[in-house]
């Protein structure tokens, strides 16, 4: 049952008296999962626990059925691109990836082939024989990524993987993450860049001060935030008419006509009732609706609602 999931059961981790994460229970399915939270919220601690670099103070973790306290089993199925921008001295990009594949116990031919494939995947074939010390920040980030995926893991944990990448490399990396997610791998990503998290993620885990604030698909998480009215943008030919009908409904808090006079941004406490009402208005008045879209079911909005200014910088 749990062999296709990453599970945390009531996991806590303390650094002396300082809280890392507290009583975290999670179940992460395949696909791309983003960890979002301010600095010090516990994202890296969660990733380090998942990959066995830290041991939990309490609780139990399983990664596709493997315990992080058993690195011989876990590290065959898990690759971790950590945030540390450090490399063993004197190695070229190729040697760096190749050398750690050798520690996996693979043959020379297999290490060679996998190292070349991984470097090609991150676009570093041309620079493979240059010293890592001479790489740019973006290249170092990519060679770390190559090292993390070279053994073809089922679980890929990436701590701020987009840091230092230029826009082109960023887009390529995001496409790669999505591709891995679609292949049924677990891709766990932490990122500060919320609009990119939106593009990458199948589900998000929001963390604040060591606690999981929310988890799941972002739309699902948004709909659970009951105390913040849902924002919906409607583009139609008669926004004034629609607005006048909306104010007769108790669940509508606000309606603002925007832009070229055809956009109506409304805030409602009950999105389902609004959609039913909109259908009725369309049938009764012949209103022509061009588009209806939620305006705040993205990670950024959910982050602001749940963590907000109290959370500090993301």
């Amino acid at each position: 049952m749990s062999s296709n999931l990453i599970t945390f059961e009531n996991v806590s981790r303390f650094y002396g008296e300082v809280l890392g994460i507290n009583r975290v229970s999670l179940s992460i399915p395949p696909g791309v999962t983003s960890l979002v939270g301010p600095n010090g919220s516990g994202k890296t601690t969660l990733m380090n626990l998942m990959s066995g670099l830290l041991q939990p103070t309490e609780g139990k973790i399983e990664v596709l059925g493997a315990s992080p306290s058993n690195p011989e089993r876990l590290c065959k199925i898990l690759g971790y691109c950590a945030q540390f921008d450090a490399f063993p001295k004197g190695l070229t990009g190729y040697k760096f990836v190749y050398a750690y594949l050798c520690v996996h116990g693979m043959s020379h031919a297999e290490c060679d082939e996998r190292a070349r494939t991984a470097l090609e995947l991150v676009g570093l074939t041309g620079a493979a024989n240059r010293l890592v010390a001479a790489y740019s920040k973006g290249m170092r980030q990519r060679v770390k990524l190559a090292q993390a995926i070279a053994h073809d893991p089922k679980v890929i944990v990436l701590d701020e993987p987009l840091n230092g990448l230029d826009p082109m490399a960023r887009a390529e990396a995001i496409a790669l993450f999505r591709q891995w997610g679609e292949q049924g791998r677990h891709v766990i990503v932490s990122s500060h860049i919320l609009h990119e998290v939106d593009r990458i993620s199948d589900q998000v885990i929001l963390l604040s001060q060591g606690y999981v604030v929310a988890e799941g698909e972002i739309q699902g998480v948004r709909s659970e935030v009951k105390d913040q009215p849902m924002q919906i943008l409607v583009r139609c030919d008669q926004p004034h008419l629609l607005a006048s009908r909306l104010f007769q409904e108790d669940h509508v808090v606000e309606a603002v006509i925007q832009g070229d006079g055809r956009n109506l941004l409304l805030r409602t406490k009950d999105a389902d009732s609004f959609y039913l009402m909109l259908n009725r208005v369309v049938l009764e008045t012949g209103l022509t609706v061009e588009s209806v879209a939620p305006a705040d079911d993205d990670v950024n909005s959910v982050y602001q609602y749940l963590i907000g200014a109290a959370g500090g910088a993301v």
């Binding site: 063993p88 050398a99 996996h104 116990g105």
Partner: protein
């Protein structure tokens, strides 16, 4: 086909040798290994000058005693000790400081094998540096005697002494290597641990018999072919103890090294990556 564990140790060994052997940062360790050879060379040249002027001052026997003293004070208490500290304490601590240890911890290798691989790499480098250094120093120290020295080596006790010194050097690498690997793994500043070990080893001649045995130097001294007495005025404080027999000293040292390595393996098994500590 090699077993998985052998390939994994081979992988660690290869990576560690790239890191450890002939790196620029290890220059002072190479200097420590080369220094006794340089002293022996200078001694040879000085003695050659003396003998040209008809002033040959030492006998072969005296020079072998000089070497015994030099080996104890300069090699065992100096260059070997600090060389082992430089090589072995950096195997784990160096990677913690450079923030690269997590790469190893994210490979599916048993941590016991990781410790073994790192230790073997350190041992290879230390043996490559210090065994030739000991042998060369010994051979050069009496070289100015010419045929007499060759005769001492071939027909006298020379070769047997050389063998003993090489064995003691190798055992020192094994013993101090294990000590400093553990120091580097368990302490944030291995220099402090090294200073404590150095003082303890230095106090060895003055310790009661039983306490003498809780050291590396006691067993190494027991295996040396010549005894070097404690010089006055310290000699009055020295406690006379029979040296350990070879059959006790060699397995004893190997056993101590194994126990320390087992401890290092257990620590690595429970180890975490927390570079900020």
């Amino acid at each position: 086909m090699n077993a998985l564990w052998m390939r994994q140790i081979g992988g660690v060994l290869s990576l560690e040798l790239k890191r450890t052997a002939f790196s620029k940062r290890g220059w002072w360790i190479y200097c420590l290994a080369a220094a006794p050879v340089a002293i022996a060379l200078l001694h040879w040249l000085a003695e050659l000058n003396h003998s040209r002027g008809g002033m040959g001052s030492h006998t072969v026997g005296e020079d072998s005693v000089i070497f015994a003293g030099m080996f104890l004070l300069f090699f065992l208490r100096g260059s070997l000790f600090f060389g082992m500290m430089g090589i072995f304490s950096n195997l784990f601590r160096g990677e913690m400081l450079e923030k690269t240890l997590h790469y190893y911890f994210l490979t599916p290798i048993r941590r016991e094998l990781l410790v073994a691989g790192k230790y073997l790499a350190g041992l290879s480098v230390s043996l490559m540096l210090f065994v030739p250094s000991t042998a060369l120093t010994f051979l050069l120290l009496g070289r100015h005697f010419g045929a007499a020295w060759t005769d001492y080596l071939v027909h006298g006790p020379g070769l047997s002494q050389l063998g003993s010194y090489v064995l003691v050097t190798a055992l020192a690498c094994i013993g101090y290597g294990a000590v400093f690997l553990v120091c580097g793994q368990l302490t944030k500043n291995p220099m402090i641990a090294a200073a404590i070990v150095w003082v303890w080893e230095g106090l060895n001649p003055f310790l009661p018999s039983l306490m003498k045995q809780v050291s590396v130097i006691f067993y190494l001294k027991s295996l040396c072919p010549m005894e070097v007495p404690v010089p006055p005025p310290f000699s009055i404080m020295a406690v006379e103890t029979d040296p350990a027999a070879t059959w006790v000293a060699v397995p004893g040292l190997l056993a101590v090294a194994l126990i320390l390595l087992a401890y290092a393996a257990i620590s690595a098994r429970q180890g975490e990556i927390s570079y900020s500590d």
